[in-house]
Symmetry: C2
Subunit: 129 residues, 2 copies
Amino acid sequence: MPPRPGLSKAELEIARIVWELKDAGVRQVFEALPPGRDIDFATVQTYLRRLEEKGYLNVRLEGRSRVYSPKVRPQTVIRETVGEMVDLLFGGETMPLMKHLVEERKFSSGDIEQLRELLDRLEGGSDEK
Amino acid sequence: MPPRPGLSKAELEIARIVWELKDAGVRQVFEALPPGRDIDFATVQTYLRRLEEKGYLNVRLEGRSRVYSPKVRPQTVIRETVGEMVDLLFGGETMPLMKHLVEERKFSSGDIEQLRELLDRLEGGSDEK
DNA sequence: TTGACACAATTACAAATGTAATCCTACAGT
DNA sequence: ACTGTAGGATTACATTTGTAATTGTGTCAA
């Protein structure tokens, strides 16, 4: 299954909104844009159409307007996007990315605690490399 | 300082090679491509030129050929690229990405150990959120 | 000397992307 | 009925990206 064409940045931004709204028309997506994100209504329409063409969204007609809904789960898109990034930036190795994140981004002590727990859970579990 | 235009995937691939070679002409970069990566010599030339135009590489003339060298450190590009990805995919939150990575990618027990150490080092250190 | 290469520089081009102008039409009001 | 308008569908377009065809030029073999 060759997944489907990749998402562009702008498309990803819009896809995230649809995931959140679950089911939405152009207007709703448009209004859900973060304030300050100055982008035209018609532009949002284009992104939604492309998202549908690429197979990321379902669409149905409601009266004379189109209503979009997620077709591919965020999980999936995240896996693909992150995977590609790891390939491109680190030759496919996950550890260098982990190291980068831990060292360069900020974490609260609560975050660190959570991370330890995640690691603990791994050890017991069945997911060995 | 609006960094500089972003890197495209193909450009990033080439940039990585230049980082590794430290200093290289088109031919060398071309030959350093992983076997199987079927791409034309002229295509590599184009990427190198664009990398230079965008400010990621330095270039000097050596006889009648151009020799490229890194101008921006990998660290910097990585920080920018990862940062953008976190914004796009997780609204700027690092933790969801960490969680995703820990749960979805594979780690050896050695890796896990290393990660624990990284976290330990953080706690003592001065980098609080 | 004279081509014929080997190499690298230039130029070209189609597809993807970011963004919006334009077009269509049901409806509210006169 | 007629018309301006709001909301949405279409079409358009410049830029960026992936990729390569072309073009220019020293160099060496005949």
